[in-house]
Structures are given as structure tokens and as C-alpha cells.
């Protein structure tokens, strides 16, 4: 398979990302689930963090028989060791083709393994610098898989920013020649809004375990929508009444708007025996500082688990976009100033540590990411599905970063952790070191694990960007 044939064809992607598909994710999600009711659906979940990891402390020690011995940086995942596969050696070779500030190309290609439209004309040019808004020429693995499985487009969530920015990875894909198309997947950093969109008021009977929402709950969840329409209906009236009455109506309309905006009631969703709820008075972390990014991440994970358990979507990504401004004010080492700079300055000599990777701030930060990932796995592992396996067992969960080592922006040896096993398609509790594997190979392997017979993914000009399924990865 090659780019010119079936892999990552833009036409296929367009279908997945068309307006209709994006507008009715829930409706289609329910239908998609109903069709596979006889068997429990598989899911793909991807967690992305920035700045690689501390290679010396992250890379597991090779053991006989691919046995997994969790490294220092992966210790937070200990409870799930039997459901983990750690993979080292994967390289993002495509990013190296680009002129970039070393962040943009790595980030933008991480999920696509695709060339970037650095010229803005639908054409790759190695000499033109990739900027923060540049789009890829091919789709990301999550969008492509969803399209191949004929299920709704993925949900793309973020911790930190959701606006286009440097290193805003893999969500921009621009099919060439698609005039007027908007290929940028919507990225949400608002867990409450996401919850309301996909879960609030979900009726009984459409999910693996019907949520207990009462009719009163379901109606209450519609208040924002109803009030929005009521508010709209005031606008056409004012022309027909005198000024004094117009002022009264305006006051009423204002009150309607105020209540709508204050309306924060969100019906909890219960699927798979797990109740997901979101707080009413949550506030979005904002620059500078992004205070509360940990709460945001936890909420996002709760919402993701709810969406997956309730069958509202099968492919979700969560990106921590705070690769530059991460403050970790909730950690004992926080608040951290200059996270990005500290990553760059990691070599021991610059900071006076005895050896590389000794900076306790960096250790704490990267361990925090492992903790977030662990929380995601725990949430998914708590949901028992009709086939007797947990939702984690029925899924493939990927944790990856755009760099191997953030200090030198290396795009070799990316830190890859797979979890879940996808109903046994990927054998877990192993450590694989595959120094010749590429990003394209990783995604080709994932596609095959999901039953899509791909032989390559992303850019593939025969010069070593694709080698097929990674040896021993997929059963």
C-alpha cells in the first residue's frame, strides 16, 4: 500500500471530516454502537505530551523474552503493568524533511507522519519554514482509523490551549485541492462543554449500561439550548412595540441570557457502572500560568472515559499542549518557571547536576504525565463490558511524545507506551526495542491491530519511511 493508493487518501478523509459527520457525532455514534452490539467495540485513545521524556530514566532495561520491567519514569503505571507494552526505537523521520524551528515540524507530523504544507499552497517545500499554522497534507491516525472503521470522526481534546499555536500537533490536515474545506479538526479544551455535547441527557437504552438520568434530568440538560432559542426569539419582536415596552422586553431577554450563561447543571452520565460528573463552577486554565491544568486534565479523562463507556465515540485524543508554559504549580516542585528552557538545559553540566536527567523538576514533570496516563488507564479499567473484559482491555491506548529527548529535539527513540491490548490483538506486559521502526510503522501496526490491512501510513516515497507492521507488535 502506498500513499497513492489506499493509505491516507484525502477523499476518504474528507468523508470522515465532512460537516455532516462532525455535526452529528452522537447520533452516528449510537448507530455505530448498535451495529456492533453483538460484540464489544474496540477503541483507540491517544495521550500526547510534549518535550519527549528523560531517556535514561524512561527506557526500560531489556529482559529475556521481552519481559517488561518498568523504568523509573514509568513507575506510576505499575498497577497496570500487565496491560502495558513499552516500545522504544521509533523515529519520526518525516519531520526531519522540513525546515522548522524544531518544534513545529515534530509536533505537526507526530500523528500524521505526513509531509507539511509549509508553502500554504497544498505543496510541500523542504526549504520553506514550517510555521505554527501550517497544515499537513495527510490525515492523522485517529481521523484515518475512524474513517476506515466508518465511525464518527474522533474527538480531539486538549489540556491547556486549544487555539492554533506552535507545536499544536497533528490536528491540522489539509487535503490538497479541497477548496473551501476546513480540514482542521476541532480541538476542545473545555471538559464541561465536551461533557454536555456528548453525554448530558443521554437517554437510556442506547448505551452499554443505561444511565439513570431521569426525564427531569434530561430536560434540565436542555435548558441552555431552550434558553438560547427563547433569547433568539426576542430579537424579532422589538420592532413591533413602542420604546417603553421594548425596554421591558430587553430586560427580559437579558435575564434569559444571564440565566442561560449561568446554567451549569450537567446531568451525570453513568455507563459501565461508572458515573461521570463534572463540577458546575469549573474555570478554564488560562495563560499565563494555566493554573489548574491538573484539574483540567482529570476532568478531561473523566469525560473521555464517559464518552467511551457510553458509546458516544470510539476514538479520542488528548493532547497536553503546555509543552512551553507548563507550570506544575500543583506539584511540590512547582510552580515551575521556564519549563521549556529547563528541558533544553537538561545536560547536567549546564545545571550542575552529576549526570544527565538529574533535574528534579524535569523528573517531577514527566512523572506527572505518567500519573495522568495512569489515571486514564484506571478509569478505563474500571469499566467492565459485556464480554467480561474491561474497557481498557477492549481498547488500544497510546501515550507518545513528539521528541525522544526534548533537550536536543531528537525525533528518534520516541517514548511510546501502548496499553490495553485491543481484545488481545496486541500482547501486553512486554518491552520491545525496535530501533529501525518509524512513526509510519507504528501507525501501520495500529491499523492492522484494528483489522485494517494497511502496509504503510503517511509519507511513503520508498526511502525508509515505512517498513510495515512493527515486528512482534501485533498478534
Amino acid at each position: 500500500m502506498s500513499v497513492s493508493s489506499k493509505v491516507a487518501t484525502r477523499r476518504n478523509f474528507l468523508r470522515a471530516a465532512s460537516g455532516a459527520a462532525l455535526a452529528l457525532p452522537l447520533l452516528e455514534g449510537r448507530r455505530g454502537f448498535a451495529q456492533s452490539a453483538a460484540s464489544v467495540p474496540t477503541r483507540l485513545v491517544i495521550y500526547q505530551t510534549g518535550e519527549g521524556n528523560l531517556q535514561k530514566r524512561w527506557t526500560p532495561t531489556a529482559m529475556p523474552g521481552d519481559a517488561l520491567q518498568l523504568s523509573e519514569m514509568l513507575q506510576p503505571l505499575l498497577a497496570h503493568q500487565k496491560k502495558l507494552l513499552v516500545l522504544s526505537g521509533v523515529s519520526n523521520k518525516v519531520a526531519r524533511l522540513h525546515s522548522s524551528n524544531c518544534h513545529n515540524a515534530a509536533g505537526h507530523t507526530l500523528m500524521t507522519s505526513s509531509l507539511i504544507d509549509s508553502t500554504g499552497t497544498g505543496r510541500f517545500d523542504a526549504k520553506v519554514m514550517v510555521d505554527s499554522g501550517s497544515l499537513c497534507l495527510g490525515p492523522s491516525i485517529d481521523a484515518y482509523l475512524a474513517d476506515q472503521l466508518k465511525i464518527p470522526a474522533p474527538i480531539n481534546l486538549a489540556v491547556g490551549n486549544s487555539s492554533p499555536a506552535e507545536n499544536q500537533m497533528f490536528y491540522k490536515m489539509k487535503p490538497s485541492g479541497s477548496a473551501g474545506a476546513n480540514p482542521v479538526a476541532p480541538l476542545s479544551n473545555d471538559p464541561i462543554k465536551t461533557f454536555k455535547t456528548y453525554l448530558a441527557g443521554l437517554p437510556a437504552g442506547t448505551t452499554p449500561t443505561p444511565p439513570p438520568a431521569t426525564r427531569a434530568d434530561r430536560f434540565q440538560a436542555q435548558r441552555t439550548s431552550v434558553l438560547d432559542q427563547v433569547w433568539t426569539s426576542f430579537k424579532s419582536l422589538n420592532a413591533n412595540v413602542g420604546k417603553a415596552d421594548s425596554l421591558r422586553l430587553q430586560a427580559h431577554a437579558d435575564a434569559t441570557r444571564a440565566i442561560e450563561q449561568k446554567s451549569s447543571y450537567v446531568v451525570p452520565a453513568t455507563c459501565g457502572g461508572q458515573t461521570q460528573a463534572v463540577p458546575a463552577n469549573w474555570t478554564q486554565p488560562r495563560s499565563p500560568g494555566f493554573v489548574g491544568a491538573d484539574v483540567q486534565a482529570n476532568l478531561m479523562i473523566d469525560v473521555m472515559a464517559g464518552i467511551l463507556a457510553c458509546g458516544a465515540n470510539r476514538v479520542i485524543t488528548l493532547q497536553d499542549t503546555l509543552y512551553d508554559e507548563a507550570r506544575f504549580e500543583f506539584l511540590p516542585v512547582g510552580p515551575v518557571s521556564g519549563w521549556h528552557a529547563q528541558v533544553h538545559n537538561d545536560p547536567a553540566l549546564k545545571l550542575g547536576y552529576a549526570s544527565n536527567n538529574d533535574n528534579p523538576t524535569l523528573k517531577a514533570g514527566f512523572l506527572y504525565y505518567a500519573g495522568v496516563f495512569n489515571r486514564l488507564l484506571s478509569k478505563m479499567d474500571a469499566v467492565v463490558e459485556p464480554n467480561g473484559m474491561t474497557m481498557l482491555d477492549n481498547s488500544l491506548v497510546l501515550w507518545i511524545s513528539e521528541f525522544g529527548t526534548g533537550q536536543n529535539h531528537s525525533m528518534t527513540n520516541l517514548p511510546v507506551v501502548l496499553a490495553g491490548g485491543l481484545q488481545g490483538k496486541v500482547k501486553m506486559n512486554r518491552y520491545l526495542d525496535r530501533p529501525s521502526a518509524t512513526l509510519g510503522d507504528l501507525y501501520t501496526s495500529i491499523l492492522n491491530a484494528f483489522g485494517i490491512p494497511a502496509t504503510s501510513f503517511g509519507h511513503n516515497d520508498g526511502a525508509g519511511f515505512n517498513n510495515g507492521v512493527i515486528s512482534g507488535l501485533v498478534s
Binding site: 435548558r223 432559542q229 417603553a244 430586560a251
Partner: protein, 564 residues
Amino acid sequence: MERRITVNLRRHFAIAAGIFASAAVGCVGVVSPGEDTNPGRTGDPGDPGDPGNPNTQFAVNCPSNTPVPPLAVPLQRLNDLQYSNIVGQLFGGQVTVKAAFPPPLTGYLYSTYSGANPMGEAQTQAALEAAEAVAIQVADIVPACSMVSAETSCASTYLKDLATRAFRSPATAADMTTILAAYSAARPKLSYAESVAVGVETILQMPRFLYVMENQPTAPGEAATTLTGLELAQRMALLYWNALPDQALLDAAQSGGLANASDRLSQAQRMLQDPRAHAAISDFLLQWMKVKDFHADTHSAEIQAALDEEMRRDIDHALAADNGLDDLIASRQTSVNSVLEKFYGLPSQSAGPTDWRVADMDAEQRVGILTHPLLMAKFAHGKTPSPILRGKFVRVMLMCDDLSGPPPGAQAMQDDLTPAGATVQEQSQARLDSASCGACHKMMDPIGFGFSAFDGVGKYLPTAGGQAVDVSGHIESTSDLGGDFSGARELGDRLAKSAKVQACLSAQWMRYAFGAKEAPADACSVQALATRFGQENHSLNALFAGLSALDSFAQRRAVAEGSP
């Protein structure tokens, strides 16, 4: 107008003429001349802060061959009863409705005043919850749609029909866009029936449902608009029934019948015969008498309940007798049960609290509703009767004279006038003797003296310490009411026969019906109604129906800026 009410046609209506008629009175603290500057609160007894005109006359030179100007009616919002009745009609009584709005704000002459019914966040929230509660029930009665593919079409048909009835006029394309957007947003998560009910919930919060929408000129001075048949039907149905028009009224509206004053009159007379009219008329009369929902905390619950029922029966009796104000404010009969027999000291003939009988009472003790214990207690400070409030009630509600509120520091002035421990009478006399207080208080206190035989809880105590209580009073007025009187009986009889009071009642009914005090331009409408009232031998029903027959009823002019 062929005939006019009898009094003072020439001097009249200083308000209408923009003349400040009270200048000669010289009340302390009188504020600005001319129109009231405290819209909506005018003349509320016990509510200070209103500039006054203590000699209002309802009549000006209104030649019978000159068209009466149309009325300015502020945008009215449905009240609780209307909301409940209409929802009941829309769904055939299959849903129960909780209170849609918090109680109207107090301090307004009538609960119908637009200022008493704002839609701030509390009211909007309440309307949201009421609509939602209705919708939750409606989800059980939405007709099923035969085909899934036809759902949007089914929903649209159902909701358009419902909205057209709810709005009292056809739902527009813009309305349906709004309603169906709410339906469509709900449909992915809710069942078909529930989603349609979300559309219903939207309808019940839209301004076209909650407000009495009428086409109107948008700026003062623009030509008046003539109401459509449906708008007239809406006005009449909401006024008399607090409900949607029935088929007969709609038929009349469609055939153009309501454009004709005599046809409107016969419709109104028909509507007043309907039991649904009783609630509206009673509500008006109770508010006019200032005892709507009044609970004297000086009475036990048992006595309060009995007094409430007695008041209801008194009003029913007066409406049935329909002999003008005689029964209403001058009858010596009332209804009593065992509780009230004891309260009034009557012979025990009733078998119990539910056994009511008509009792003839002492002519001085019972002067219609005027001396009903609730009314007497209303105008008291705790157990201490207030000749000021009693006199002000008569002056403002029955005579329609405007009085200014007390000037700043009035209480301190009173304290300076009389030593601690002075009696009510001594305090009044001191006020009247004071140059600065007396100018205004002579308009109130001497009327209140006529009720001196009633204590602060409404008990009739004609003697004190073996002496007859002094009940001599005086009405300071250039009208047919002016002069001395003795006791509540003479006062009530004089009020009941007074053309000024009859004209005032006409004005009060218009204020209640349209939720606003009449503007100067409405003076001839008031006079026209008062004339009709007189022509029909002061039949209350003729008064209530006659409003619909006014030419000015069928049109509307722009509401002036800042109107309540």
C-alpha cells in the same frame, strides 16, 4: 355621550388639563404639579412618595360626536392564573401547572401594572422551571409519529398548531425556526416525544406567549392602530376569563364581529355570565378594596379563614344583586358561620364553620365591605387603628383623588406635636391643628374618624368607658361628597350614591384592566365608561362589560416613554 355624570363637569379633571388643582390646598411636601411622576404607584394607601391632586374629577368636555382617543396599554405579561388556564386549555387539562411567576411586586395600585410584573432573573427562572415542568408532562401526551423519517415534519405540524393557539395568533416562520431549533437540538439525546416537549417548553417561554402582543405605534404621537379581531378576542378573553378565547369569540373575531362596539358588548355580557369571569371580577374588587391576600396577623387562622370566606361571599352577593355600589359598600347584611357569629357577638345559629347564613347586622357596624374586619385591620398599625390610612383609602381608592406621600421627617414632626402616650384622637387633632401637617391631613384623618368605632382588628366597639365613641367626620371636597357626616353608615351611604365614586370605580376598573393609570388623553374614555355605568343604573356587570364596548377599547396608541 348623551348624558354625563352629574357633577362638576366644568371644573374637572385637572389632571387631564394638566392643571395642578391642589395648589389651593397647600399640602406640605407636595411635589411636582401635573402628571404623576411616580408611575404605577399612584394613590396606594400607606405607600408614600406620590405627588397629589386631592380633587380629581373624572370628566372633561368630551363632546359626544368627537371620537374618543384610543387607549395606551402597556405591554402586559400573562399572570399566574392566565398562564395556568392557558396551559390547561392547550393540553386539554392533562397537565398540572405550578406557579409560573413569583408574586407581583407590591406597591403598585394593581397587580396588573406592568411595573409589578417585571421579568428579571428570578421571574425568568421561575418561568423556565414552570415551562419545563409542563414539558415533562407533555412528553407523555405528544402524539406518536408514524415514521421515523417523518419526525421533523410531525414535530413541525404539532408545534405549529400548538404555538398558534398559545400565541393567540398564527405562528410565523421565524417562530417555527426558533421552536424547531430547540426540538432539533434535543432530538439526538431525547426521545421524539421528549424532544417535541422541549419545543413546547420553548413556546411557553417565548415573548409571544408570555406577553399580550398587539400591533402598536412605536412612538408617541404616531397614528393609533386598530386592533385586529384576534387581538380584540385576546384582550377580552384575558380580561374576563384569564384564558384563551373560546370558539364563539374566535368566530366573532374571524367574521369581523368584534370591530363593532355593540357586538363586543354582547360578547362581553356573555362572557361575564361564564363562571370563569368570577375570578377576574373578584380579583379586581379585592384589589380595589386593598384586601387581596391580606392576612391580619392579629387574627387566628380560624378567624382569618372565616373572614376571607365572608369577604368572598359579600362580593358574590353584591355581584349577584348587581345594584351598583349599594350592596358592595353599604350593605348591612353579611354572611356568617359559627366562627363569625362568635366574633361578631351574634346569636349562635350556625351549626359550624361550614354552615353559612346571611345575617342582618347593626347598620352602623356593617357598612358593606367598608367595615369588613379585614379592611379595618388593613388600615391599622397592629392593633391601633389609623384614621390616616382609613381616610386615605377612601380618598384614594374610592374618590380617586391623588395625595402626596408624607414629607420627609413626618414621623418626627408627629413626635414633636404630641407627648408620649397621646391617644389616636389626640394625635390626629394635633396634626390637623398644625399648619404644616393639617393641610394634607385634613384630606384624610377626618374621613377616618368616621370609622372610630372599629378597633385595629376590626372589632366594632361603639362605646368606650361608658361613652359613645365620637364618630363625627368630614369630607373635604368640592364634589358631591363634601361636608360633615357621622359614622361609617352615613359615610358608606354617601359614597355609594356619589357620582364621583362611581366615576372613580370606572377609572379603577380601567386601571386594573389595562395595567396602568389613565393618561390625560384617556379622560374621555373614563368619562364614557362612567356614563355607561350611570345609564345602566350602576349595574356592576354593565360597567365591567362596558369597557369592551368603548370605541377606544378597539384601538391603541403608543405607550409613552417611561410608562409603567
